[in-house]
Amino acid sequence: MTEEHPILPDSDGKYGLYGGRYVPETLIPALEELDKQYQLIKQDKNFQNEVSNDLKAYVGRPSPLYFAKRWTKQLGGAKVFLKREDLNHTGAHKINNTVGQILLAKHMGKKRIIAETGAGQHGVATATVAARHGLPCVVYMGEEDINRQSLNVFRMKLLGAEVVSVTSGTKTLKDAMNEAMRDWVTNVDDTYYIIGSVAGPHPYPEIVRDFNSVVGEELITQSKQEFNKDPEVLIACVGGGSNAMGLFYPFINAKNVRLIGVEAGGLGLETGKHAAPLNDGKEGILHGMRTYLMQDESGQIKETHSVSAGLDYPGVGPEHAWLKDIGRAEYVVADDEEALEAFKELTLIEGIMPALETAHALAHVKKMAPLMNKDEVIVVNVSGRGDKDINTVAEIEGINL
């Protein structure tokens, strides 16, 4: 390990070319204040203790590292371990971030919480912590996602959140994010916007990465205990990129560990109907950040497609864009069909039903493990559980529940 990874973002909120703060002037002072408060509080021992107590007693951390023995045997190559974020309270990695950000919001004296959501997991994770801290919460969600994730919509409502249906644009995650930004511009004095991935204007990509890094940090310890070395390969799905960043970041300087992010291939890269900006996108500006985007020649953002709502996003966190350019991480795709197959396979062989987002990462494990040696280790981030996707899967199978 000769070359140490630089500490990013830099003082401009950039990861190389990417990141930054491309927002209307009204929000700039709020982002500067957020950055200042975050930099101070993250050094604070009391805050750190509060976060780690919540992660332990409320979220249920550390999440186990599970050896998928039967699946490993079937794949016939590398040992496959699952980092079980699906076992967290509310069923996904998203809660790692919301537990931290809500404490930051309270520290800043904010009285109202807003969030955007795609699959509904971040919405649920936000509504959950808002309920716990007694703060009113509004979640913006695309109309199309409301239809395909109805279970999570009802969960949010039970948790006391108001779910606002977003009917502009493509009616999915990107439009929900626009709408949340509009709310924030209007109510910036008393409202805290909890962004749900390592995306958006600086300092959000940094904040969300830091709160999710507990995943990779636990894995460092667990790897020593389980196999007494670093894993050869880490694999995670990439929507905005928070579960991947949380897994990768603590291993950034461990150059012997391959980091592989899996984007949504949708109906196939060649069809253009996918959500894989790192594989088939171009640099541009959306939602306050410079990053890889799916866009046409005139700079309009393209409609995306993925069977999983949580990956159905035309952009990606700026740190991933940078990790791709410098070659530290690799980004591949798995299409809808491969993801569905992996979803069923893990359910049948290990009795673990993953989220459809996660299933994209698992699909890549299926391709890769057989090509590796039996003494090598793959750790895949099981970013969430699949209960929320049962309706989608049933519909695809033509089954009426």
Partner: protein
């Protein structure tokens, strides 16, 4: 002298305020946009702000969002908007035109490429909503080498130190956003506007115009004396949304209403 500067000079000599009228290029089609631009100028608009449609107009309220959507349904592009300026300039060589939009379509064309084409087309300024000064190096350079003004936004949340910085490399005029919110908001507070505009004027000689939330004679009257001009957007765009039937009469009445409210003592 640049068109924006000479427009404000003339207005100042006549002790008048600027009426800045906004509409989205290609809403509902390019021909209508050109007609409406001419109507607006003939009825008293001093500067035209042309919205450049974007798939994700983060700072717009529903009225202008829908205008962007209508323009995009027609596949209106930034190139089309430049061609429109060329058409307009055949008949009108004095009214300033400013493009207002989001960075990505401009980046897709490239800062230098866009600015040199824009200058040749007869455009006067650009205002990119999601481009704060910190992220504007390329456009600042390209705009200034091509004699385009780079209009800057100042918001109610902008503090004095930032105002000073923003004014340093602004040109044309300063656009003060009168309310925290998206376009079409409704809660303009003249007292707050006055004190902020005074602060801005103490830091720059550029004209200051006030926008967001101005929609009729009453709201014009409430902010008229506080700045060098006003911007009206959603109120015009909502007429366009009603359809082409009698559109040019409706726009012409609206502009008359606003410009006479700007004049009356």
């Amino acid at each position: 002298m640049k068109r924006i500067e000479s427009t404000f000079d003339n207005l100042r000599k006549q002790k008048k305020k600027a009426l800045v009228a906004y509409l989205v290029v290609g809403d509902p089609d390019l021909e209508t946009t050109l007609d409406l631009m001419e109507v607006m100028v003939s009825k008293g608009a001093d500067i035209l702000e042309l919205g450049i449609s974007f798939s994700d107009p983060m700072a717009e309220g529903p009225t202008i969002q829908h205008a962007h959507e209508r323009a995009l349904e027609n596949k209106t592009t930034l190139s089309d908007a430049l061609d429109l300026v060329i058409q307009f300039r055949k008949k009108d060589s004095t009214t300033p035109i400013v493009f207002m939009g989001y960075m990505n379509p401009f980046e897709a064309m490239g800062a230098e490429n866009f600015c040199s084409r824009a200058y040749k087309s007869g455009l006067d300024g650009i205002l990119l909503v999601d481009m704060p000064p910190e992220e504007s190096r390329n456009f600042t350079r390209a705009a200034s080498t091509n004699s385009l003004d780079l209009i800057r936004l100042i918001a109610p949340t902008t503090d004095e130190k930032r105002i000073k910085n923003i004014c340093t490399d602004a040109s044309g005029y300063i656009y003060y956003i009168s309310v925290k919110g998206v376009t079409g908001s409704n809660k303009i507070d003249p007292v707050e506007v006055k004190s902020k505009v005074n602060t801005i004027q103490s830091m720059t000689d550029l004209p200051v115009v006030v926008g967001f939330g101005i929609k009729d004679a009453d709201s014009v009257t409430s902010v008229r004396d506080l700045s060098d001009g006003i911007v009206v957007g959603s109120a015009l765009v909502s007429l366009i949304a009603e359809g082409k039937n009698q559109l040019s009469d409706k726009i012409s009445n609206k502009i008359e209403e606003l410009s006479s409210a700007l004049l009356s003592e």
